[in-house]
Symmetry: none
């Protein structure tokens, strides 16, 4: 196993332990045990508990962004892409459920710096979404009086609440969930 692969192994173990109890209650020893290695070994790969957490977040964001980019660069109408984004979110949630939990629940463990860094990354994802909306207006697929930012926020919010409810509350698994009706409502409106 290469050094990089071992780092990923440790990150996965850390995700499980951090997501269970949060950053502070997670013990380095537990993470090591979860990874099947000794306590000191973790420090051979990460400088500190904070550094480990930081890298875990970066890893999660990078993974998410890559998948999202793939969807947005693909072909299809805005509506089709939106559906794909919903599905991708669900898939990510399932695959990286521990990391996802951390993103949802642990954003504030570090006072300022990291929170700002995370916010900036989130805004990058927003920008990508916004570009899709702009293109949809140009192509005549969407009303041209739409405020792109508002549309972006409504989609992002709906994705988050939709899968949050289905996965964490109703305990559905990814492939039992059809986002099409939700996207339909967003595009058609309530009236």
């Amino acid at each position: 196993m290469t050094r990089e692969e071992k780092k990923i192994e440790i990150l996965k173990a850390a995700a499980i332990v951090f997501s269970k109890n949060g950053f502070y209650a997670a013990k380095m020893e537990d993470i090591a045990k979860q990874a099947g290695i000794g306590k000191g070994t973790v420090y051979g790969y990460f400088d500190s508990k904070e550094a480990l957490f930081h890298e875990l977040l970066k890893y999660g964001i990078e993974e998410y962004k890559e998948g999202m980019e793939k969807v947005l660069k693909g072909k299809g109408s805005v509506k089709e892409k939106t559906i794909e984004l919903f599905k991708y979110h669900g898939k990510f949630l399932t695959k990286y459920i521990d990391i996802a939990q951390i993103f949802i629940n642990q954003q504030a463990v570090f006072p300022k710096e990291l929170r700002k860094e995370m916010l900036k990354e989130k805004m990058k994802l927003f920008s990508m979404l916004k570009e899709m909306i702009e293109q949809g207006k140009k192509d005549g697929e969407l009303r041209d009086d739409l405020d792109e930012e508002l549309v972006t926020l409504s989609i992002a919010g709906s994705i988050s609440q939709f899968y949050g409810k289905k996965v964490f509350f109703d305990n559905y698994s990814y492939d039992e969930i059809s986002p099409e009706p939700m996207v339909e409502i967003l595009f058609k409106g309530y009236i």
Copy 2:
């Protein structure tokens, strides 16, 4: 000052300190100082740090629920009420910004119990919203093929992302934000 008023004072101090540093980094001593009292005194009002945090969350939810009920019991169309809900959310965010931050960022400090309790409370708020949607359909204000749950999730998600972006990222104050265009988009759809 009555015992109950003093408890509220301590809760407000706790909200400030918890929101700044998160649950674990917040020290009981800091909370006491923020409240202008001695460390030991806090324990005359709350059994433990966890209990204090727990009561703070309950207090925040209760406040939110009361305001939301008032809006929903008021008169007006579903769209008008939705706009009022948006506005109420912004007002709450401004008044209880510290508690709100905690709800956004600190949901996972306790392993399971409290997280579930919070989720249950959140679902109660959802139910209230859902009833409004059902009534709107009965009254013919909304399309009658709408899935109430999906509408509820899209409204809740949009409220959350809309004010999150405006208040925490763009640093707008409550009265500078008009939710009407956002609600318009939700009701009319994107196409």
Copy 3:
């Protein structure tokens, strides 16, 4: 007991423990036990183990300097004062045997800063001694071709070796040791 008195109590306990095994082997828990208090209490008086050690050294130097000044300001010939200095050194060694051990053996626990600070303090003591020699030359008590610095160094070295041997190797107690013959040799020479 005032705060200052309690600090002295802890310093005394620290001196005992530090002198036994050196800075690193000394455990804060042992120091606390020696002082008859809880581990955490030590931190109410000193910021860290290093700070505690630092203050202990400062305290020891201050005590030594005060006694030395008293001797040098007193009346009597240079020879009489030299004898008094020897005696004072022996008395200090007996009273503060633990701190003295630390000065002899632990000067290098901190890389640079503290070592320099200690060296500076030592040089201050040297200066005081040198002034005495200068006065002795002026008064015609000592040969006027003497290099004051060399005399100072020979006295300081002799004091240190003399009492080091008598107290730490031969295990004599302070009042069993007569420094007069040693001083006589220094003043008369070997030939």
Copy 4:
């Protein structure tokens, strides 16, 4: 390179690192790096960190003793030999400055055993010096009412303080220092 030569190489590296940081702050990894070898290799030559330190001290003492014996066995008057001893001390300090620093500063890293062993070795050096004084009395070079031990202690103390000041405080190099005036004062006395 023979096994013995390699041991010396490691000892020299250890001397540099120990003298810089003290026994506890010195890391085996740093010593290995300084010697240009791998961490594990050190353990092929020394059983433990303590053993390495122990052997380093023994090595230093042995080197010192050999040089001192050479001086004492040579020809010349007691005064000339005393001057040679001073000079030898200065030369040793220059050549083995790192080991010398350890002797000055690190005598107490081990509780009792090693400290006693070192003290015993020091006393052996004292005995050699004392024999020289006794011979000087027999030969009529020194007053015959002199206490040999006191003379020994005053010479040893003066050597130590003299070079300590010149080398470590004034930063003189070995060949810039003339011990003759100091020896002159010791033999002639102050009056």
